[in-house]
Amino acid sequence: MIKKAVILAAGEGTRLKPFTENAPKAMIPVANKPVLEYVVNALVKSGIHNIVIVVGYKKESILEYFGDGNRFGAEIEYVTQKEQVGTAHALLQAEKYMEEDNFLVLPGDNIVDEKGIIPLIKEKHEMVLLVKKHPQPSKYGVVEIEEGVIKNIMEKPVEAKSNIVSTGIYKLNKKIWEILHDCAKKGIYDLTNVIQEAIRRGHILKAVENEGKWMDIVYPWDLIHVNAKILQEISYSTAGKIEENVVIKGKVCIGEDTVIRSGCYIVGPVVIGKNCEIGPNVCIFPSTSIGDNVTINPFTEIKNSILMEGVSIGSNSLILSSVIGKGCFIGTHFSTISGGSILKIGDEYTEVENIGAFVGDGTIIKSNVVLRPATRIGVECEIEVGNVVGGDIRSRCKVV
């Protein structure tokens, strides 16, 4: 009987900059819910209510949002990983909270659902890993399976031997603590490597594959795709005030105290938070998530985008396939351009298509600014009137 789970949510998620400059990856919102909420909900729906969350980077946002877990039907305890050394080290922090024989371990920054978790719990075997097929396996831990048992996990191999990868979601047995300690002494801090060591020592790790959801968000544009996928599952609800001559089609969710003014045209799936002011004459197209306290001024079109809370968008603007961070102030006649680009992130080159712009929290963009495809702007930047901007703009910079 699995009663408890550990969620590893201490990581930064540097490849998701600028959105992880002020928040941990687990708290980035998808369809107006932080990624971590999907994980907690999946556990609760699977019957696991006792959760330990390992926090670290920018932990206050997690503590503040989840509190003691009551609101989500869970009882949550927190343990802090003071320095983000690795996933195995993170798990080790939770040892004193875990007296269970068997428990689940999940990453806090991947979206999952109970369909993936319940079979894991039902598995009689004591050590189980949830695996999935992935089109780009070399970004993950690639697994080699023989008769349902995992023979090998290789983290980010140069040449992937299969297209089946580890989701990082485990059912583990308490024997793992000793192995974790031994590995820590040898300076092995990555969970995948520790599991590899466990296999080497003869522990049997069974592989389970199922149709459950597992979505990782590595780069800012992944946010757009994952947001669109999750939005497909929302249902229609409106708690706000909708004036006359507003057209709403499809699955649209509107929060409390939000006002949709005359002439707006909203096509779902779209989710809009609380206390927003939209319009008059604003068009919102699928698949878009708009956070709380957002103002969108007249004659603006938003499509396939995420606007985080507190954003204000000036009139006559166009936002396509973009992500705008919290509290950004965007002037009139703002445009993003959706298109393709080749980007260098860290040491890797990635090609992207149909992508707009990514703007970090608290940035001020004055009137008549155009952002080229795949532009990334840091937090608290300032873009002066009339600029056409592309590429990467570091945080707290001003473009004159």
Binding site: N22, K59, N70, E256, N275, G310
Partner: protein
């Protein structure tokens, strides 16, 4: 203050009462006690924290009792003075929050009639009065006894001969009933029982109630039974939990992006109608703000807002002084600010004002509190419970309420243009982000707190609306870190306090790049000329200030009536870290309690 709790039901009373007391201890924490009733009445009392009391109480199986956590007013902190107090025969136990003003005469009379006293408190007289009137019916005895009392009280009684009953009464001290299923709670405050039920009946002055396992009966001051509404409170117990934060205060500081958003939600719109506060108050000719402590500083800031935005002359008065001041202006509006709605000084001030026919608008955080029932209008700050004794999220919310009220009045009066209001409202909606901006700089603020934590004196200076902020900064620092701190209007320093400046007296200067800027820089230069270290709290784009000061803490660029809110968060974090680095008990500072319900 003090907190009282009573329980009758089916659960283990020991646990319920001790837990409830832990949640009430922000009301007072120098000693505690519980009285458990089954076939016996046993009282346990201890000096110090509830945990100490807990160790003393054995695991008895009872399902009814009363409890108390004390903030000493009469009589020192001793075990004998802790509540519950009992009568001579040890058959009646009582817990009390409030002050019995005529206790001395009552005590003498009781002693003359042969009663034996074991403590120095005012409360003990109540136990003996009930003992005298007792004839098998607890509520009749209580009703008779309280008629002799002058002062304030929230009382809960149990009697050994009637083990199924708790009788409670209220006059001026808060008392609230929690309605469960076959179990009932009575307490000074909702968090005491919120874990078990969120259905609440507010008891009003003069009312008495009887709780038993079968239900609650409420009686008015004429002993007539009355029906009262059950309210469902939408606070969740987790809001009253620390959940991972090391202190309630830190949790409440980090809650502010959310609490400020809750405060303005549904009340402001960039387009018409801009501000809807649901209070139908006419624009007054003048305003008088009465409040205490941090709320008073919010009021001082409010003065700047009302005068600048709505052009309404505004006075600010300390509640405790207001009663002595001469002319009450009945043509103006009184705005009373109190987080708890139970602050005795403010309630007294408001009652005094109402006698003159003034209209009163209350800004408070607690639904159904005494202030809301005396005031003509109420604006709720909607922050959820604030447990940390030092006010944080309720202060920023109060600032916001005053600003929204000023904007509303300015619009009605025509003293502010629509376009300006829209601009302010755009900024208000961004307040969660502005506060987050400051929270993101937590480590920097901590570093600066390191530099001031060992100093004996710190000064805070500001001009314009940042003068009350400077006062609040000093209050926060002294409240929780015990460092002597004083706030001044920057222009006043040279009229005396300058004599105190040395190399060892840091000065925190709150700087805004508005019409006060040049003079603030001049004041800072004057301070630096005396070699005091200066920390400036300045906006993000203020480059000039850097050359004059030793350290700068930034806040986002916004109009001063808006930036006072993120600045408040800077000051809270500065005080928090200084206190934490000094090892102070932040949530329960020495000698203080959360809601000052005594005068």
């Amino acid at each position: 203050m003090c907190g009282i709790i009573g329980y009758v039901g089916f659960r283990n009373a020991r646990e319920i009462l001790l837990e409830g007391l832990k949640r009430l201890d922000y009301r007072g924490y120098d000693s505690a006690g519980i009285g458990l009733i089954s076939d016996k009445l046993i009282v346990y009392k201890e000096v110090g924290e509830i945990e100490k009391l807990e160790k003393q109480v054995p695991a008895i199986n009872t399902t009814a009792g009363i409890g108390h956590t004390r903030w000493a007013t009469h009589g020192g902190v001793t075990k004998a003075n802790a509540h519950p107090h009992t009568d001579c025969k040890k058959k009646i136990a009582v817990v009390h929050n409030g002050i019995i003003e005529n206790f001395k005469e009552l005590r003498e009379e009781l002693i003359n009639r042969g009663h034996k006293f074991t403590s120095d408190t005012d409360t003990e007289v109540v136990a003996h009065l009930v003992e005298e009137a007792y004839d098998g019916c607890l509520e009749k005895a209580v009703s008779s006894a309280i008629k002799k009392l002058k002062g304030s009280y929230a009382l809960a009684f149990v009697s050994k001969d009637e083990p199924d009953k708790i009788v409670a009464a209220r006059k001026e001290s808060p008392l609230v009933i929690g309605v469960g299923d076959n179990e009932y709670f009575v307490a000074s405050d909702i968090p005491a029982f919120l874990k078990y039920t969120n259905r609440v009946i507010y008891i009003e002055d003069g009312e008495k109630c009887i709780l038993s396992r079968k239900g609650v009966k409420i009686f008015d001051e004429n002993d007539k039974e009355i029906e009262k509404d059950i309210n469902v409170v939408d606070w969740s117990i987790e809001e009253a939990e620390k959940a991972g934060f090391s202190h309630y205060m830190l949790k409440e500081i980090y809650e502010q992006p959310r609490s400020i958003a809750d405060s303005f939600r549904g009340r402001i719109y960039e387009k018409e109608p801009h501000v809807t506060l649901n209070v139908d108050v006419e624009v007054p000719e003048s305003i008088t703000i009465v409040a205490c402590g941090t709320s008073f500083y919010a009021g001082l800031a409010g003065k700047y807002m009302f005068e600048e935005i709505a052009d309404i002359p505004t006075k600010t008065e300390l509640s405790s002084e207001y009663r002595y001041l001469g002319r009450k202006d009945e043509t103006g509006l009184i705005i009373a600010i109190s987080q708890s709605g139970e602050t005795a000084d403010t309630l007294a001030a408001v009652r005094g004002a109402k006698k003159y026919g003034c209209k009163v608008l209350a800004i408070t955080n607690v639904v159904g509190s005494s202030l809301t029932r005396i005031a003509d209008y109420t604006i709720l700050t909607r922050c959820g419970p604030e447990i940390g004794v030092a006010a944080t999220k309720t202060f920023t919310a109060q600032l916001l309420m005053l600003l929204m009220l000023a904007l509303d009045m300015g619009l009605k009066k025509g003293t502010i243009e629509d376009a300006r209001v829209e601009e302010y409202i755009t900024h208000i909606k961004k307040l969660p982000s502005y506060i987050q901006y400051v929270l993101n700089r937590n480590e920097e603020i901590k570093r600066i707190a390191e530099e001031i934590k060992d100093k004996e004196t710190v000064f805070f200076i500001g001009r314009g609306i940042n003068y009350p902020l400077a006062l609040e900064g000093a209050l926060k620092l002294k409240e929780i870190s015990y460092i002597h701190a004083e706030g001044f209007a920057a222009g006043e320093l040279k009229h005396g306090p300058f004599a105190l400046l040395t190399e060892e007296t840091p000065v925190v200067a709150v700087v805004a790049r508005d019409k006060t800027y040049e003079k603030m820089l001049a004041n800072i230069r004057e301070v630096k000329a005396r070699n005091s270290p200066v920390v400036a709290i300045a906006d993000e784009k203020d480059m000039d200030v850097e050359s004059y000061v030793d350290e700068v803490i930034r806040y986002p660029v916004t109009p001063p009536v808006i930036s006072c809110i993120p600045i408040a968060v800077v000051l809270q974090l500065l005080a928090y870290h200084a206190a934490n680095l000094r090892g102070c008990p932040i949530d329960k500072p020495r000698n203080l309690a959360k809601s000052v319900t005594v005068e």
